[in-house]
Subunit: 452 residues, 2 copies
């Protein structure tokens, strides 16, 4: 979203080539999901392209077009909740037939955000051109932009790019399309999967970009998912909504909600496999989509600007407490620069976790008008990689060498149990998780050296 | 609060020696306030000491004792709102006669936080020993600690330190006392002032520490203020409360509320000048205290971990909007790692200001149950050092070389006007300010390389 990756400063993260897509222990592939190669192409009914329109100074691909050729496609979408949402988000959210999209026009190199009325007009022009190029109605074309905020869109370059992309639409154009939506991403976040449903096999593909300004609320950065399964628009919306909540809404690179987050699921039905509501097919497809989006979300964190190590924090509360409390606590840990700096250096500095939660809950209580500091401190339990370090708010002895080894690995897991209410009830308390990256010198370099 | 300053990595900030105390354009000294030398000693009625008790691996001073010898001193205090407040905060807040304190026992090298019941017992032991040393009641001894969270206090070392400090109490012991409360501070934050009141001259002294984990809510890091004016406890509380709200509560280094923030004002009355409620004396003393605490707060930010450049963001709202909206927006700007990284490199990347406010207001609205994203984006006006860059949410042309020069200075000011409600009413909208520091490589170094 924000900066060019400075290849001189950035250690190159491991590329995807040769590695399985499902790599994180936090997002295992279900047994009925099979990974296809990255060159397997899009599901039936889809074509895509990515071209160089000149929006990026680097001269890399920057305009992507994706078209669904099905007669009656269905779709679903989620967008950023930002109060300063970008023009393409506003236009798509308000003017498009989100349940029946036939095309996506995406660009990098310019977010078209903080551009006011002119930004909306510019977006509308490109939407019209893309509709013409794809042979569909403008209301069937979703727009998605990423890049610098506060810059106006180079409309003429976009229009030329759209014409060029139209000529290059191909069933395996997802490779180029992915290139066109990337900004500071160090590696591509893309998958082609086969899903075995009781009624037959279907395909799932996704192209996704992230890197900086990543703390999605309600939706995400840019992620486009295609399937050749036949879903009603309602089923598509239900599945996308549930899976987005369990994936992109649970990650943070820098706690910064973007102006342009967009996730779109498109269904061509080209497989002939129909997924009925509340069927075993729906359940299985949902499991596959869930695993796909969770792995993509974790990849976003792993490729967060400057990220070298990633973590999951799980926060549970004692019975009776609200979901907002665990959410506030988990976000506070994930976005604390002190916790993130400790994660960076493999330092088991769990005092910072306690501090981050204590501070955030105080601010949360104040925001909700629940008054000031509590009389007694929170009785927190904290464990890192299963090693308990704090019980009921106080330090406990632990195996220090074992903990040092655990926090030096590529993925670190923190578990926090809060006791904001008296224990003893037998109801189940709230629980949440947030995935996050570390705070590194490279994050500072990337975001300090980038000039508007 | 957190890390040792790595002198190899840290460029040495300018020391205080030879410079006036009031240096920032954001905190000018009132005409009736005169700066005394840093060796002027404490106001009448106070003695202090700072000693090496061995709590810090560096072997620097770590235990400070401050005693008021007046017959009937008055005092006031403010503490962190953290839900995981440290043992010294809990004990002082709940057990002390905060309106009539006679002594302060302060230590660095250990925060005594996340230490549970044992931490409270340890704190009580040192409180008892300090009371004995000062010849006062334990309930008249305030405790303040700073250092690593999750470590238990070395009580025996503390007790020896207290005995040693008792022998060294002196009227000019504020120099040593200041040393004993510092952690990663690169320069001392201390002042000796003379204040001309209509009823006579009085003295004000303050010793303050900051550096990291700085985002005070309700109170602050550690700050001790002494005066020889005679104030009722109610007046002292009123003045401290108002001035803390306009100073320490308006700064952020890293958005991290500490477990140990403490600010205490002590009044000996030794000058014989009595400050009556609602008098001209009270007004003038209040102005002096206000300027003193604002300059100290700005110094905290300037000496924030890794800070190289500091900023003020002012957020105004159109008439009719609530104070919570401008507060949320200003904090979001001050704590955004993207805004802070741009500040670090002198980059006028104002799109990140728009993004930070848009994201925070969306999360704020959701926390308050006010629903999802608004239909239209916020019509923000943004100016940097008086140069308007954004009007009603859209980029406007500006003098780029002038802006580049402005953001390269040591202090940068951002002004944001929001229009969350329709304009046209003639009531005055809410307004707030937050001072903050940049995000630098040194912050990462300081907080990544420090091990518990």
């Amino acid at each position: 979203m924000s900066a060019r990756r400075d290849s001189a400063a950035a250690p190159a993260p491991a590329p995807l080539a040769g590695q399985p897509f499902f790599r994180s222990r936090w997002a295992a592939a279900p047994a009925h999901v099979r990974e296809l190669g990255l060159d397997a192409g899009l599901p039936g009914g889809f074509r895509a392209a990515g071209v160089v329109a000149g929006l990026k100074p680097s001269g890399k691909a920057d305009v992507g077009l994706l078209v669904c050729d099905a007669e009656r496609p269905t779709s679903a979408a989620r967008f950023t909740a930002s109060a300063t949402a970008a023009a393409p988000v506003l236009l798509t959210r308000e003017r498009c037939r989100l349940e029946a999209l036939r095309a996506i026009l995406a660009n990098s190199g310019c977010a078209n955000a903080a551009t006011g009325r002119r930004g909306l007009d510019d977006a509308a022009k490109t939407q019209g051109a893309a509709a013409l190029a794809a042979g569909v109605d403008p209301a069937e074309v979703a727009l998605a932009s990423t890049g610098g905020i506060s810059q106006y869109l180079a409309v003429d370059a976009m229009l030329k790019g759209i014409l060029q992309a139209r000529e290059q639409l191909r069933a395996d154009g997802d490779v180029d399309f992915q290139q066109a939506i990337q900004t500071t991403d160090a590696f591509e976040k893309r998958a082609n999967l086969e899903v075995r449903l009781p009624s037959g096999n279907v395909r799932l593909s996704a192209q996704c970009k992230g890197a900086g300004m990543i703390s999605p609320l309600f939706a995400t950065m840019l992620c486009f998912i295609e399937t050749d399964a036949a879903l009603s628009a309602e089923t598509a919306d239900l599945l996308l909504g549930v899976c987005v909540k369990r994936s992109f809404e649970r990650v943070s690179v820098d706690g910064q909600l973007s102006t342009n987050d967009t996730a779109i699921l498109m269904c061509s039905g080209a497989s002939g496999v129909s997924v009925a509501p509340a069927s075993e097919d729906e359940l299985r497809l949902g499991e596959a989509l869930d695993a796909l989006l969770r792995e993509l979300a974790i990849m976003l964190v792993a490729d967060g600007e400057g990220a070298g190590r990633i973590a999951r924090v799980i926060v549970r509360d004692a019975p009776g407490a609200g979901a907002d409390t665990v959410e506030t606590a988990a976000r506070a840990v994930a976005n604390s620069p002190l916790v993130k700096a400790a994660l960076h250096s493999g330092d088991p500095n769990w005092g910072r976790i306690v501090q981050a939660i204590g501070g955030a809950l105080a601010q949360h209580a104040r925001a909700l008008g629940r008054g000031d500091a509590p009389a007694a401190p929170l009785a927190l339990d904290v464990a890192i990689e299963g090693i308990q370090v704090c019980r009921a708010g106080a330090a406990v002895p632990y195996d220090e060498p074992a903990l040092a080894r655990a926090v030096a690995r590529a993925e670190v897991e923190y578990e926090v149990t809060m006791r904001t209410r008296p224990p003893g009830r037998d109801t189940i308390g709230a629980e949440t998780e947030v995935f996050f990256s570390d705070l590194s010198h490279e994050y500072v370099t990337l975001n300090a050296d980038y000039s508007t």
